[in-house]
Amino acid sequence: MGIIDLSVSIGSARLPNPVGVASGTFGYGGEYEELIDCSGLGALFTKAVTIEPRPGNALPRLVETPAGLINSIGLANVGIDRFLDEKLPDLSRFGCPVIPNVAGSTEEEYCSVLERLETNQVPAAYEINVSCPNVKHGGLAFGTDPHQIEHLTQKLRNLTKKPLIIKLTPNVTDITVIAKAAQNGGADALSCINTCVGMVIDVRKKRPVLSMKTGGLSGPAIRPIGVAMVYKVCRAVTIPVFGMGGIMSSDDALQYLLAGASAVQIGTGTFIDPALPITVINGIEQFCIQENIASVNLIRTLLND
């Protein structure tokens, strides 16, 4: 052990290992610190932050589905002021790379949040959330239009030298078009995939279960979709890709790495087993030992396809 190089480069940032915890599933870190040693994480992607605090969507916000979970949280967050004053200082003590997830309703809002974040040393990179299916404005509207994605990415590119990671939605006809647009705009990396739009109807009440009617499906149910999209995206762009969607074991994570991802993020899986991110890091290291490769970055060369 210890002979395997687990580190990965995302633009100018170097992550100690390829396993991050996904935005929206890990709060601001403190929620899980009694259950998991956050210093061992490859990266901690924070709950999305917007310029103003947002209360989030009406209830109910959650419904369980076969091997899945649909959420409609609605980017509930403390807003950039409290994020900078309270959350980022607290996040810095975990000792792992912290990557704020940036959201907004307009280009100006995304830019304002990023400019404010630039005043702080803690962020190792930024993940740009252009793929939230649970808000009325912004979010998915940006994520499904390649021109808007490219334009937004360019604007953000001009504001920071830190790595920009664009988080893509699977809810498009061809995700590679969006991926290329983000790359053209100057993105350093991509996160694939955000949740898939889903819906559950209560047959007895004859109405949708969620207050917003639809929400974002996550969990093992979407893993094959995520793997396929990562596989396609990795063949369409040259920048690194974070693979995510339904990772519940190190083999699941390895599917993403074999498909071409440089790193992975674990989300819903942490709800079910908070120890999962660490289990997956250890599993990936074991795989490298078994495969006799010195670096996790070589895993993607192993796919026989």
Partner: protein
């Protein structure tokens, strides 16, 4: 809070729809009344999420805990089938506990159906502190009455059909009693019952603590899925972190 394992000691039917699960915990968790644990019921991903249950009892010496559950979905249906020696993955203790009464007036503990769990643990905790209380339990009919777990606390029983005890709801019952103006009310049960208890307390300017039930995903405060609507600028707070016990005056009742 810790993630640890627990071995089932017993999984017993205590009424028509209620079961009691006794667990030996691998590590000490020391929950207080009102707090809960989450159980990973299946590793096949259906059901996917951990399930939250309030502690209905805890013994510090033997490090054993109990929960009471109702079979009402995939998760609890699976749980019902687990026998002694089954190993479960738990996270505990979670959430905020009940606060002990500040008033010297006799507190009233009110449970409706599956809401019995946290109220039972509060009852035994108060008993251990030599604090007197009145326990009121309500259910649909005598078949749903878990007599064995209730009997140590000499409860008042209310049934919707009058088949046992008082004929009517727990709130109907409380309205017939000369409750002290200052009696703190502790309640857990269906939403309309909690709301009615809140109104009863509000009329008397008494304190009322309610333990709410919400669908949860993470159970630790990360996902913002289990929120409760409250008065004030925050609008929503997490049932798993700021709750599940709330002062009823803080909740935006609808």
């Amino acid at each position: 809070m810790i993630q640890t394992s627990a071995v089932i000691i017993a999984n017993t039917k205590i009424a028509e729809t209620l079961y009691k699960l006794d667990l030996a915990l691998a590590e000490p968790v020391k929950p207080r009344a009102g707090q809960f644990l989450t159980i990973r019921i299946s590793d096949t991903f259906t059901p996917l999420l951990r399930r939250p249950f309030a502690f209905s009892d805890f013994d510090e010496v033997s490090n054993t805990a109990s929960i009471i559950y109702q079979v009402k979905g995939q998760g609890t249906e699976l749980l019902r089938k687990y026998g002694p020696k089954t190993l479960l993955d738990i996270i505990a203790p979670l959430g905020k506990p009940f606060l002990y009464p500040q008033s010297t007036a006799l507190p009233v503990l009110v449970a409706g159906g599956i809401g019995l769990g946290p109220i039972l643990y509060l009852a035994s905790s108060l008993q251990n502190q030599n604090i007197g209380f009145k326990l009121v339990f309500g259910c649909k009919n005598s078949r749903q009455l878990p007599s064995a777990v209730l009997s140590p606390f000499s409860p008042a029983i209310c049934t919707d059909d009058g088949s046992t005890g008082f004929h009517g709801t727990v709130v109907d019952y409380l309205q017939t009693r000369n409750l002290s103006q200052k009696s703190t009310i502790y309640c857990c049960g269906p939403h309309p019952m909690l709301h009615a208890c809140h109104q009863l307390a509000a009329e008397r300017a008494a304190v009322c603590y309610v333990s709410v039930e919400q669908t949860m995903a993470c159970g630790v405060g990360a996902c913002m899925g289990c929120v409760v609507k409250v008065n004030g600028p925050t609008r929503y707070v997490r049932a798993c972190k700021e709750g599940p016990v709330f002062n009823s005056k803080d909740i935006a009742w609808e």
